[in-house]
Symmetry: C2
């Protein structure tokens, strides 16, 4: 099988690594506008060759893992270039605008809109790891708009990579993902900002930070290149989550100001059930 | 050596485990007002016997690891009960009120005010682990108020447990710890609350949550019994950090509302240097 990865970073590179292991006879082609990224992936053995869109016509599978703003521009061009039997999948963290962009494209049935919920705070081909997708949820949108044979092909790969599949419409995806992913990133970035701003004398103060701080601020290491277009495309939902989050923080602050520690206790106690909820979440260790 | 652990949960239990390994001939006594906690610690072999404050007179070392509100009540009573040569250490997450409480106590020189920055989101004796303190920072306050020989005794233990020592006054401790620890807990609890409130249909939605969400919301599993009195004792500093955090979130939200994605990018890019800062933080894996 010929597979082409467009954008060979953490997500694309990890897909390529697993794919090669599952299909040892496959040929993995990398396309990346960032030449040093592509060369690094080649040196690391993640891809077998570097090509451009000309190679897409003979690809069986094209996996597109680029920032969501680039995705909107490139996806129609990629569909223009692929063969009639090529399966094109994306890995974008937003789905509404992406699906809208390719709606009505003559090769719409070659495309499967995906969001594999996997990743780390790192980026680039050197961050790619084997087994990133095992046990993770892959959200598929508008499955009915993809050719049945290509759905089957995709599901076989996802199953071999041990992903859990969930079907959802693009609006619902974007709304819910704002809560369980996008908001976490903003809370983390702003936590990092608050502490950095306050603590000018970093060396001394960050000595005091334990693993709790590290955990809550981990996502503040994430790439602004990736996240700015996500927030842009999911702007309305993200603003809504942020308003609710700020409101909850204001309420908690008021309890402190009012010396109402009975309700401070209750607020935390009620939220403790996140323990049970989180037990269902597969994690990258 | 006779060591007594008052409050045998995660913190006290982990101290006992390391202590026994470092001083195999020592006898570890547990004091806990929660009987089932004490019995569990005994069954797990974390302590050798269960006693009450009567045993403190013959203890060489007393390690007090109870919630900070209990600490204020119990610490004077513990000092009343100990022998002239006993070293008493606490592990409270606040230091100002604790130090004030024992200021002027006839046995003040037997007490060393400590805050070992270590822990996990779990609690109880079964959560105790060997090596919890290795590589962690232990903040010591008002060291000059402790008898020199007892300082020496404490430092020998901390060194053997591989802790890094930092000296700080109680006011500075409480102020800085509000930023690098207390605020993280509130941001995490309120993130958990926001998402739980919104997503009634948990099963389906939390399937979408990846390890990013798990990481930012991890501290929301923490014990309200431990954290309510911490927020109460460090109320003013915590309110200040919360105000700054909310302000930063408001600013970020305004950028989204104004479609100012150039500055959304800059906000994240500026905070990315948390990567370098965090490299210095020792973590529990």
């Amino acid at each position: 099988m010929n597979v082409t990865i467009v954008g060979i970073g953490l997500i694309g590179g990890s897909f390529a690594k697993d794919f090669k292991e599952l299909y040892p006879d496959s040929k993995v082609t990398g396309v990346d506008k960032n030449e040093s990224n592509a060369n690094e992936a080649l040196e690391l053995g993640i891809i077998d060759q570097i090509k451009d869109y000309d190679s897409l016509a003979t690809s069986d599978i094209v996996f597109v893992s680029i920032p969501v703003n680039a995705l909107m521009l490139e996806l129609p061009r990629i569909l223009d270039a692929v063969g009639d039997g090529t399966l094109v999948m994306d890995a974008g963290s937003t789905k509404k605008l992406i699906c809208k962009t390719v709606d009505g494209h003559p090769k719409r049935r070659n495309f499967l809109a995906c969001h594999p919920i996997a990743g780390t705070e790192f980026s680039g081909p050197s961050a790619a790891i084997n087994g990133l997708y095992a046990g993770k949820t892959n959200i598929i949108c508008e499955v009915e708009k993809t050719a049945f044979k290509l759905q089957e092909k995709a599901l076989e790969i996802f199953q071999k990579m041990k992903m859990r599949i969930r079907y959802m419409n693009p609006d619902a995806h974007d709304k819910h993902i704002a809560y369980v992913s996008h908001l976490s990133h903003i809370s983390s970035f702003m936590l990092g900002k608050t502490v950095i701003e306050k603590e000018k004398n970093e060396r001394d103060i960050f000595d005091m930070a334990g693993s709790g701080f590290e955990s809550t601020v981990r996502l503040a290491k994430s790439s602004p290149d990736m996240w700015t277009p996500i927030f842009e495309q999911n702007r309305e939902n993200v603003i809504e989550t942020l308003e609710e989050y700020i409101q909850n923080l204001e309420t908690f602050k008021k309890l402190l100001v009012d010396n109402d520690f009975e309700n401070v206790y209750q607020e935390m106690n009620n939220t403790n059930r996140i323990k049970q909820i989180l037990k269902g979440i597969p994690l990258t260790k």
